[in-house]
């Protein structure tokens, strides 16, 4: 017995790793109309977020003001 949502906010029984794997298989064996699939960059971002988001936001929320200052600095520099 498992809950419908995993602890990293993913779908039980259909986690994003599975989505990524199948999309990877689609590159070699056409699986159907997926209309471009996940795309590599969005897939990697989401994989990272699902996997490491818990720790990432644990840190981000505590240092939000500092991160925001850094973000503004980087934006100005760009």
């Amino acid at each position: 017995m498992l809950p419908l949502k995993t602890s990293n906010h993913d779908l039980t029984g259909n986690r994003f790793q599975r989505v990524f794997r199948l999309n990877l298989l689609d590159r070699f064996v056409p699986l159907g109309i997926l209309r471009g699939g996940t795309g590599l960059k969005p897939a990697l971002v989401l994989l990272f977020l699902h996997r490491c988001g818990g720790l990432l936001f644990f840190l981000l929320i505590r240092y939000e003001r500092q991160m925001h200052r850094l973000y503004q600095l980087l934006r100005r520099r760009r």
């Binding site: 779908l11 259909n14 795309g39 989401l46």
Partner: protein
């Protein structure tokens, strides 16, 4: 100690319990404190409301796109905020005022108060679908209430307190609090700090004995602390994480259509106390079947609106599930109510087979359908299906050198090609066909009485909905009714159209496969064919199949199959086994409807994701999934009891019939099956 920030809800509540022991008053912020949102951006709730207003305007003969309505709303709301800002420190707006102005602008003289009520009710209903109460805070609220503390909810939002109370009542909060305070009523908000003195005066509160809990460091932290109110601010990293994911999925979905269905499922996920452990079948019903069936029904409703169809008939027994899904989806997806009338039609292949022969006789196509199941061998099987009296038919058979037990199927021992030739001659024999028509006429008359009573002939066009797969029920139904002048045009929608036997479409009868249609090449959707029985069993109604229509003194009688035999008992067992799968599906549907209404997408947007779901779950499932989902029993009332020759039927087994050992150990099993599946789809 005036303002403390907490990064964990548990720690906040622990500390809150200590502090509240010394306080008489505890106030809470509402949004993102007591209630969390499924979506990352609260403004997204305005979009379905804009669509609702646009559709109401269209009904009133006014053409306004929903984007124009939303833009107008934003403009009016901003103007109201600017006007408020001239007198008050907080630039607040009040929902009834700006919404009334919006509706008057759009509808002009056709505006009335009932319109404002409908729009408000829909917006609050949509808000409620997206709000979830934080269970731990609710439990703490109960404790505080039992301790006799004075509890308040105070929020900065454009909704006045009377509307906020609707949200609080839905969340189970209203009975616990003394009152709800909204900045929309007084234009004094927490952001400027003005809300706190207002509350202090109104309710005679003591600042020194007051604890406030919220999520905003300024409105819920700094501002109350300025008055000596103890403030506790929750900065929840988990919530930010969850919303960041939702935001990614929704934003990626704008550019890549693959993510639209995934964003839909992310919004459907249960939160807080909703997210309890469930068994495997429930999870599959919720996460797999829910979006599929929901999208199917949404598409049918959209098509019916587009084609202006006034009646929809859901064919038993799978139509039972589709009808239930329709009833749950309609209030959210189509709040204007402009939907056809829906009915459940008691039909089945067995019941309609005989009735369909009353005017056209036994056609070659009907006979070939009857011989599709490999267990059907001879004329006795035909007689069983079409309810012929064999004794009366025997002279006609003998005239064409046939006996009732002459093998007519090439899959069985004793078959001779000449038998098929004689059989085709029999079908061309007018005497035989007259006998067929005579014998099946009473069933057809009973069917006509039933259809007349249910209003099948009342409209010029009707939609019919079924699971699939050859469209046999619709085919037989059309054959049974086409002789009538008032026969409606039948537009059929099936979950999957395999079209193994060509479906004769004409001006009055058409069939469309929604999720899968053989006429529309789609490898992903074709994975449906891996486990058709599973879908039938999952969607089936909890009543026996219909066996036939009989004339009665007062009209007609529906004859249902007897459930006391071995097959009936097996079916009941299967129903019991799949009950949690069905429950998962029914629990998913309201969340599907709310999420789909919010996102504004339709089946074509979800199709890439649904194709992925079908491919992943049916073509590349895990062993555990196959063992859990595959059905134990499946009733096919068409199927005879004869055993076909093994060499004719072949020993090929499908992926879903393989043993557990093969599923676990056989290398590249799924890929091999998928390649074979692709070959058969492309070649056929």
């Amino acid at each position: 100690m005036a303002c403390t920030t907490f990064y964990s809800l548990k720690k906040l509540i622990r500390e809150g319990r200590k502090r509240s022991a010394r306080c008489d008053i505890v106030s809470f912020d509402l949004f993102d404190t007591l209630l969390i949102r499924r979506i990352h951006d609260p403004d997204l709730v305005k979009l379905p409301v804009a669509r609702f207003i646009s559709s109401l305007a269209a009904v009133a003969g006014i053409s306004r796109s929903w984007q124009a309505v939303q833009k107008l709303r934003d403009t009016i709301e901003q103007r109201h905020r600017d006007e408020t800002g001239q007198t008050f420190e907080d630039h607040e707006a009040c929902y009834p005022r700006f919404m009334r102005e919006l509706l008057v602008t759009v509808f002009g003289e056709q505006f009335d108060e009932r319109l404002l009520e409908r729009v408000t009710d829909y917006e609050l209903a949509m808000e409620n679908t997206m709000l979830v109460v934080r269970q731990e805070l609710l439990d703490w609220l109960h404790e505080l209430h039992d301790e006799g503390k004075r509890l308040f909810i105070v929020t900065d939002i454009y909704l006045p307190a009377q509307h906020i109370r609707v949200l609080c009542r839905h969340a189970g909060l209203l009975d616990l609090v003394e009152d709800v305070v909204s900045s929309a009523d007084s234009f004094l908000a927490k952001a400027s700090g003005k809300a706190y003195p207002l509350m202090q005066q109104r309710y005679d509160l003591d600042y020194s004995s007051w604890l406030h809990v919220g999520d905003n460091p300024i409105s819920d932290g700094l501002r109350p602390a300025e008055f000596g109110v103890q403030a506790m601010v929750l900065r929840d990293g988990t919530e930010k994480f969850r919303k960041a994911l939702v935001k990614r999925y929704v934003n990626y979905g704008k550019g890549k259509s693959f993510y639209r269905g995934r964003a839909l499922q992310q919004l459907m996920l249960p939160l807080e106390a909703e997210n309890v452990p469930r068994d495997d079948l429930y999870i599959e019903g919720y996460n797999f079947l829910g979006p599929l069936v929901g999208s199917f029904v949404q598409h049918i409703a959209e098509e019916c609106r587009r084609l202006d169809l006034k009646r929809v008939f859901f064919f038993s027994r799978e139509g039972y599930t589709f009808k239930k899904v329709w009833e749950q989806c309609a209030p959210f997806l189509f709040p204007d109510g402009c939907l056809p009338r829906i009915d459940y039609l008691y039909v089945s292949r067995m019941a309609l087979a005989g009735a369909s022969c009353a005017h056209l006789g036994l056609t070659r196509r009907a006979a070939s359908i009857a011989f599709l199941p490999p267990g059907n061998r001879d004329f006795r099987d035909l007689a069983r299906i079409f309810k012929f009296d064999i004794e009366a038919m025997t002279p006609h058979l003998r005239r064409h050198r046939l006996e009732p037990d002459t093998c007519l199927s090439p899959l069985h021992a004793g078959y001779d090609q000449q038998n098929s030739v004689h059989f085709l001659e029999l079908l061309d024999d007018e005497g035989f066909q007259q006998e067929v028509r005579r014998q099946t006429r009473p069933a057809n008359d009973a069917l006509m009485r039933y259809l007349e009573e249910i209003g099948f002939f009342a409209e010029k066009e009707v939609a019919v909905v079924d699971i699939g797969w050859l469209g046999t029920i619709q085919r037989f139904l059309y054959q049974a009714v086409r002789h009538r002048d008032d026969c409606p045009r039948i537009v059929g929608y099936v979950f999957g159209a395999t079209r193994g036997i060509p479906f004769e479409q004409d001006l009055k009868n058409s069939l469309h496969g929604v999720i899968y249609d053989r006429h529309r090449f789609d490898l992903g959707a074709s994975c449906l064919l891996y486990a058709r029985d599973t879908f039938e069993e999952a969607c089936r109604a909890p009543h026996p199949t219909l066996d036939g229509y009989e004339l009665a003194e007062d009209g007609y009688r529906l004859k249902f199959r007897n459930c006391d035999d071995v097959i009936g008992q097996a079916e009941k067992q299967q129903d019991l086994y799949y009950s949690s799968l069905q429950q998962g599906l029914f629990d998913a549907v309201p969340r599907f409807a709310a999420a789909s209404a919010l996102l504004g997408y339709s089946l074509e947007d979800y199709r890439p994701w649904l194709n992925y779901l079908l491919t992943a779950k049916l073509a590349f499932p895990s062993t555990k999934e196959i063992l859990a989902i595959r059905n134990r029993h499946h009733l096919d009332d068409f199927h005879g009891i004869h055993q076909p020759l093994a060499k004719k039927v072949g020993r090929e087994s499908t992926l879903w019939n393989r043993s557990e050992l093969a599923l676990r150990l056989s290398p590249l099993l799924r890929l091999r099956h998928f390649v074979n599946h692709c070959k058969s789809i492309i070649r056929n």
